[in-house]
């Protein structure tokens, strides 16, 4: 039995308690798990040391304890898995290209930023190789450096946002596919 199973089982058997009291107790047990893990114990070990949730619940509720129907861990629901897989497939058929496009846009912004910042180098190269230097080109190049720096800042923001979005989306996908348990 891991932490989640222990808490869920206890929660189930403590149905008779006032909600506030039950939540407070469950918080105590959750904190116990966290401290146990910090002391290098596994969830399974901690749950074993805590004891059987049914026995605990019986002691907590007292003589009025009527065991609710035994708590069963949610079973693998094949029909649900198939249904969710199909829905996720079509959703991703649409969503993946959107993500790809957004990332491509990000790459484009990065490329523009680099090109802008490096434009003086190009100017120098052009001057050395072909001549034809003009003040006008220099001013344009300085302007391009500024634009490139702005774009770089924008790229940084974009990167953070996109990364967060992508990670969240894939986590959500994973969670949805596996189901709540």
């Amino acid at each position: 039995m891991n932490k989640q199973e222990f808490i869920a089982t206890l929660h189930h058997y403590l149905a008779a308690l006032p909600e506030e009291e039950r939540n407070e107790l469950l918080r105590d047990y959750e904190a116990h798990f966290i401290y146990g893990q910090q002391h290098g114990k596994t969830e399974v070990e901690i749950a074993r040391e805590l004891g059987d949730p049914l026995v605990l619940a019986r002691e907590i509720v007292g003589p009025d304890f009527l065991p609710p129907p035994p708590w069963v861990a949610p079973q693998h629901d094949t029909a649900r898995t198939i249904g969710v897989s199909i829905v996720l497939f079509f959703l991703n058929l649409f969503a993946l290209p959107v993500f790809l496009t957004l990332w491509a846009a990000f790459v484009a912004v990065c490329a523009s930023a680099i090109a802008g910042v490096l434009s003086p180098v190009m100017l120098v190269l052009e001057g050395v190789l072909y001549g034809g230097y003009t003040n006008f080109k220099l001013f344009i190049s300085i302007g391009m450096v500024g634009a490139g720096m702005l774009l770089a800042a924008l790229a940084q923001l974009l990167f953070k946002g996109l990364l967060l979005m992508t990670v969240k989306y894939f986590k959500w996908n994973n969670k949805t596919w596996k189901g709540r348990s």
């Binding site: 047990y29 904190a31 966290i34 401290y35 910090q38 040391e49 949730p53 605990l56």
Partner: protein, 111 residues
């Protein structure tokens, strides 16, 4: 449930009171301290502590911890200290009486 478990449950309250009397402790710490001496279902501590608070033998306060959630410390009240003393006296007398009884029983069965 073996007989030993029943014994332990009965004295858990006494053990907890004695431990808190020495210094304030939080739940996990108490569980560890009790387990060092007697093997007991640690989960039974939390309902017991709730009852001690409800009966006015303990108070709680929260202390932030650098690691993990804030710790709920239990502190013995004056009333709790009195109760703890009573329990210890009663426990010692009880153990003594039971030991006497066992010894007498043995004596009689051998004679």
């Amino acid at each position: 449930m073996d007989i030993n478990t029943q014994f332990k449950k009965g004295v858990l309250e006494l053990c907890v009171l004695v431990l808190i009397e020495k210094n304030d402790r939080y739940g996990y710490e108490l569980a560890e301290a009790v387990s060092q001496h007697i093997e007991v279902a640690e989960g039974a501590l939390y309902p017991l502590l709730r009852r001690l608070v409800k009966d006015g033998y303990c108070t709680t306060y929260l202390q932030e911890s650098s690691e993990g959630p804030p710790r709920k410390y239990y502190k013995l009240t004056e009333q709790g200290a009195l109760y703890s003393k009573e329990l210890i006296v009663a426990w010692n007398a009880f153990v003594q009486n039971v030991s006497n009884l066992i010894e007498q029983g043995e004596f009689q069965s051998h004679s």
